[in-house]
């Protein structure tokens, strides 16, 4: 590469940051604020050092918990306990945002033809890609600074705070160029996002297996980009030099993306375009068929991901088998969501996390209606004899069915691999599938919220994202930091049954269903009334 930026990079970077002037600061504030609030709340929850030491010991002795949330390092500092659950999840969230940012400014621009306008100007050939990577780097830097500042303000020592924040920032820094590479190789923006997120999932799973397998640092942790963050040990030894790995990986991946970009034809992907079928199949003869045809690839990829996570959880949980069941453990487990046996609590927590991911996938599928409208493809369909109601509902139904399939896939794969010893395999499949499907009402409710917001207005639809993030944070982090009951009640994820182990409450399911039905009515009524724009 030539020294100095390709011409036009500065302008393009400014334009990218301007386009993201709301979403990136919102994500930064949301993540940093969550970390700071968790730290403040946990300090109040475990005032005595002995309380904390007990909780820490209990978590460390449970491989399944370590697999999902990462190891808990540091001997009982308030910060370590508070941020343990957030560490890996926050890194994943930061990485996802970095992926979306890079693809939004590269492949998505290419798909909608705007990149061609830029490419025809004297701006350097590599400028859009470099600008997108720099925008993601700005996000990583801002996230690191804001998180560290927030933690220091709530009483975490500055070295711990800086190391923790750097782990989040480095995750964003590594996966931004991964997304850039995916954008070069895939034929479309959606393909690029899917590929990059699957790479992220693989990194998560590899480090989870490593953590569960050997708390003393398995090699699997060392090869996963998400494992590097753990090895820094933000609340333990502060091995700063390990941050060299994410930096090196980022440079390597960026270089690869730039090289591929230099050799690739504009608008094409790695795989040559193949001719498709000359006639439509019978399946794609209605709006639901079309929505399914468009979503099936994405849902297939996500189903594969859910199966992998399910298999992982099932096999890891088998080893837990009554490992720890002391009073201290009960305390921790109670904070995690229920007084059940350890394995049940773990599986329930896991299904809760998967439901949150499924809700994201499902909300994105519902919002596909908004992109249909923006691209004016909705004009083509709605000028045919097809009611707006049916068109909107077909998007909603396909999304909800897809979400239920994801949950069922996770439940079945947990059941097939979980061997508690006593129960018959078939009974175990039934039990864990039911547990996974118990989360479905919350996922469906999120889909209906997305539909209602979209029904009110295309511009309003994106408001589902902050709402969904708040729901997930309340459900995942709320109990750990001792949030007030009315706060916990706000999230649908706290109202579904936490199975196995919890009790199934028919009333709350009915309530969730009733609210979802009400939202569908709102969605349809508002959508029928408004202009298509």
């Amino acid at each position: 590469m030539t020294p100095g930026w390709p011409s036009g990079t500065g302008l393009l970077l400014r334009r990218a940051l301007r386009r993201d002037r709301v979403r990136l600061p919102a994500v930064v504030l949301g993540l940093a604020g969550t970390a700071a609030l968790s730290a403040a709340a946990t300090a109040a929850l475990y005032p005595a050092a002995s309380d904390r030491a007990g909780a820490v010991a209990a978590v460390r002795a449970t491989p399944a918990l370590v697999a999902v949330y990462g190891p808990l390092t540091g001997a009982g500092s308030a910060g370590a306990l508070a941020l343990w659950k957030l560490g890996t999840l926050g890194a994943v969230a930061a990485a996802v945002v970095a992926v979306l940012t890079v693809v939004r400014h590269t492949r998505a621009e290419e798909d909608n033809g705007r990149a061609e306008l830029v490419a025809s100007t004297p701006a350097g050939r590599l400028a859009p890609l470099v600008a997108a990577l720099l925008a993601a780097a700005c996000f990583a830097a801002a996230l690191t600074a804001a998180t560290a500042a927030g933690l220091v303000l709530t009483g975490v020592s500055w070295a711990d705070a800086a190391a923790f924040a750097a782990v989040w920032g480095s995750a964003a820094l590594v996966f931004a160029p991964v997304a850039a590479l995916a954008a070069e190789l895939a034929g479309s923006a959606r393909g690029a996002i899917t590929a990059a997120v699957l790479a992220l999932l693989a990194a998560y799973v590899v480090r989870a297996i490593g953590d569960a397998d050997d708390p003393q640092r398995s090699w699997l942790v060392r090869v996963s980009p998400l494992g590097w963050g753990e090895l820094v040990e933000p609340f333990g030894t502060h091995r700063w030099w390990l941050l060299v790995f994410p930096a090196a990986a980022a440079v390597l991946c960026s270089t690869a993306a730039l090289v591929v970009h230099g050799r690739r034809d504009f608008g094409s992907g790695w795989l040559p375009a193949r001719p498709g079928r000359a006639r439509g199949s019978r399946l794609v003869h209605g709006p639901a068929g079309l929505a399914w045809r468009r979503e099936r690839g994405l849902f297939a990829a996500w189903t594969a991901g859910f199966v992998v996570v399910g298999v992982l959880c099932g096999s890891v949980t088998s080893r837990v088998g009554g490992l720890v069941d002391g009073p201290r453990m009960r305390e921790v487990v109670a904070a995690l969501g229920g007084p059940q046996a350890v394995t049940d609590a773990f599986l329930a927590a896991e299904f809760g996390l998967l439901a949150a991911v499924a809700a994201i996938v499902v909300a994105a599928a519902v919002l596909r209606a908004a992109s249909e409208e923006r691209a004016r493809r909705a004009d083509l369909v709605l000028s045919a004899p097809l009611s707006r109601t049916r068109w909107l509902l077909s998007h909603l139904v396909v999304a909800c069915v897809g979400g239920v399939v994801l949950l069922a896939a996770a439940g079945v794969s947990v059941g097939l691999t979980y061997r508690p010893g006593s129960a018959s395999p078939l009974a175990e499949v039934g039990r864990s599938t039911a547990a996974a499907l118990a989360q479905a009402p919350a996922v469906v409710l999120v889909a209906c919220i997305a539909a209602a917001l979209y029904g009110v207005g295309r511009g309003v639809a994106a408001a589902v994202w902050p709402v969904l993030v708040a729901f997930i944070l309340v459900a995942e982090v709320g109990p750990v930091v001792g949030a007030a009951p009315w706060v916990l009640d706000l999230s649908p994820f706290t109202h579904v049954a936490h199975l196995p182990g919890g009790t199934y409450d028919v009333m709350s399911t009915l309530w969730l269903t009733a609210i979802a039905a009400g939202l569908v009515v709102v969605a349809v009524a508002a959508f029928r009334r408004r202009d298509l724009a």
Partner: protein, 302 residues
């Protein structure tokens, strides 16, 4: 009452926030005619069509399709029409063939032989995916889907933009066949030669308002004919004739524009000097268009 017009728009008003896109627009399309809907960019053609399709609400005025309300009766009305948007966006993963079959299936099925012959005539490769089609090819996909459907009314928004000349000629032939089959066509365009060649009647709009409506013949009465003549002797005096505007006078050659009422006298004077060559050009649509718009903006600025 008289038979219901396929399209009947009176005093249509549509606002987007503070901008007024349609400001009392009138449009009437008779059964079985090809109706040109003309206007410069941004004059409100697409907005009108989207109101007629029920995609937009109207703020005031009347908009009827076959006597019914385009929003309330959208589904029933859409069984009787097919629409080709101005900028066709296709589903990136679907091939052209799949898209055609999907759209025609939504409209209740299609005559396969007709669909295949249209794909052939428009030289469309149906195996290419949506994201790989050029603009003209995307247009062709939507056109084939619309023309193959068995409907009474075709609503076409600048349908030939992006088509190459060979396909464009095929398109014009196809529209002629549609007229022969008794279908009604509403064709928005700013390609005036296309409207001139295809349309029975036309409506010209500017800034959301109708400035002129009628057949080409009727509209031509409103404007001047260009007369170019080479004479045997020096050009006679013409400047005392009302309704004749000399634009060029060059010895024995004269170029002037004459209003219909002054034609008789103009010809008499030219003939008295002896005509060597005479070229009389009826007003082109361009002239109509520009004259109308000049009149319209003149009214507005005064």
């Amino acid at each position: 009452m008289t038979e219901q017009l396929p399209v009947d728009v009176r005093g249509l008003v549509k606002r987007f926030g503070r901008t007024t896109a349609l400001d009392g627009l009138d449009l009437r399309v008779r059964r079985g005619e090809v109706h040109g809907f003309l206007g410069p960019n941004g004059s409100g053609k697409t907005t009108t069509l989207r109101v007629l399709l029920g995609l937009l609400r109207r703020d005031a005025g009347v908009a009827r399709l076959f006597g019914a309300d385009p929003r309330r009766d959208a589904v029933e009305l859409h069984r009787r029409l097919a629409y080709v948007p101005g900028d066709v966006a296709l589903w990136p993963e679907l091939t052209g063939g799949e898209t055609i079959d999907f759209l025609t299936a939504l409209r209740g099925g299609v005559d396969q032989a007709r669909r295949d012959s249209l794909v052939d005539r428009f030289a469309l490769d149906p195996t290419v995916r949506g994201r790989a089609y050029s603009r003209g090819n995307r247009q062709k996909v939507a056109l084939v889907a619309a023309l193959a459907s068995d409907v009474e009314l075709l609503v076409l928004d600048e349908p030939s933009a992006g088509l190459d000349p060979i396909v464009d000629a095929e398109f014009r032939r196809a529209i002629g066949e549609e007229r022969d089959r008794g279908r009604t066509v509403l064709l928005s365009s700013h390609v005036l030669s296309e409207v001139e060649a295809l349309c029975d009647r036309m409506t010209i709009i500017h800034r959301g308002r109708t400035v002129e409506s009628g057949s080409l013949l009727e509209l031509r009465h409103l404007t001047r004919t260009t007369v170019i003549s080479e004479l045997a002797g020096p050009v006679p005096r013409l400047d005392d004739l009302t309704g004749v505007h000399t634009s060029q006078l060059d010895g024995r050659r004269v170029v002037c524009e004459a209003e219909p009422a002054a034609m008789q006298e103009l010809m008499r004077r030219l003939a008295s000097t002896g005509i060597v060559r005479l070229d009389v050009r009826p007003p082109t649509l361009e002239q109509l268009f520009l004259a109308d718009i000049a009149r319209d903006t003149g009214v507005e600025t005064s």
